[in-house]
């Protein structure tokens, strides 16, 4: 050592080599922060609702398929009410708001309120067929919501829901409800679980994120 201070080493902290490198570092940091905010406002807010509804769909459609309808319908309705309450509670004091909450609620309300009329328009239809049809309709709702919000993984869940409805009706005629609930609910549960636990899991991986 000559005693002269070397750039970037004198303070013990790594320093960018030039203003351009400093600007590039700053821009990278800003993009990362902006991306985190966007995810927090859109994707992260859906993690708990997706996990709740995924579980409810798996259990509800399994009940409709395996239990007598006299028991399955009230139990399924109770599951839906519980899932709705869980979703409401999870969004009671949200840390981040996207600004679309009201429009999203209106959109889902419109879909739910139009469901009985759509059912009436295709009736009479066997109850099992109707249950899959309604699930596929709500899957289209998920798909459109994902397209509007630019949420690709959620779009995949919506598409899986619609495809599973058609596939299970054709391939599993006797257990279409169970198969459909498992595919659609499983996709929701997986995405919700990944969004809840994914960041923590990625941090634990030896090869980083």
């Amino acid at each position: 050592m000559t005693g002269e201070s070397e750039p970037g080493r004198s303070t013990g902290r790594p320093r960018p080599a030039s203003p351009a490198a400093a600007a590039a570092d700053t821009l990278r940091d800003l993009h990362a922060i902006g991306g985190r905010s966007r995810r927090a406002a859109t994707r992260d807010t859906l993690a708990i609702p997706l996990a709740i509804w995924g579980t409810a769909w798996i259990a509800g459609y399994a009940l409709l398929d395996l239990a007598p309808w006299r028991t399955a319908i009230p139990a399924g309705a109770a599951l839906a009410v519980a899932a709705g309450a869980g979703t409401w509670l999870s969004r009671l004091h949200p840390a981040v708001l996207s600004g679309w909450e009201r429009r999203t609620r209106l959109g889902w309300a419109a879909l739910m309120l139009s469901s009985p009329f759509l059912v009436a328009s295709v009736s009479p239809v066997p109850g099992r067929t109707l249950a899959v049809f309604l699930g596929a309709l709500w899957g289209v709702g998920i798909l459109l919501f994902a397209i509007a919000g630019g949420d690709l993984p959620l779009g995949v869940v919506g598409a899986v829901t619609v495809l599973a409805a058609g596939f299970c009706r054709q391939v599993l005629p006797h257990h279409a409800l169970f198969g459909f609930g498992l595919c659609a609910g499983g996709a929701m549960l997986f995405l919700g679980g990944w969004r809840l636990c994914g960041p923590a899991l990625r941090d634990r991986l030896p090869f980083g994120s």
Binding site: A20, A95, G99
Partner: protein, 127 residues
């Protein structure tokens, strides 16, 4: 426009980049903490907002530090705050204003201009 290069040779800079470089950096956003705060608010969709607590956790700042920098952003008109009450609990939310979004984008363009000027010209041999 020509600007001095690293070896005192003038460097040709495209006029839009030169214009950006002539504009002084925004003094409010020149502070790195305020710039990161504005980035966090800018990342939210238009109409979106975030609580004080969430900002503190995201940016890992102390209450006092965060409050001081947010106050500067609010005073400059770059951020807007709204307070809501849940019983006795007060929640303050922050959102980027249109002026704040524009100032942030200008600042980012200025940073991009700094990088663009430093990038070697495609026909210029690197020494």
């Amino acid at each position: 426009m020509t600007t001095p290069g690293t070896d005192s040779q003038p460097v040709d800079v495209p006029e839009p980049v030169a214009e950006t470089l002539r504009t002084p950096f925004d003094t409010v956003l020149s502070d790195p903490i305020r710039l990161r705060l504005q980035a966090a608010l800018h990342g939210l969709p238009a109409g979106g907002s975030v609580t004080f607590t969430a900002l503190r956790k995201t940016l890992r700042l102390s209450d006092g530090n965060l409050a001081a920098h947010l106050a500067v952003l609010v005073d400059a008109g770059y951020a807007a705050s709204t307070a809501t009450w849940h019983g006795k609990r007060r929640t303050t939310r922050y959102a980027a204003t249109l002026a704040g979004r524009a100032a942030f984008e200008t600042h980012v363009q200025a940073l991009e201009a700094v990088i663009a000027v430093a990038r070697p010209h495609p026909l210029e041999p690197e020494l």
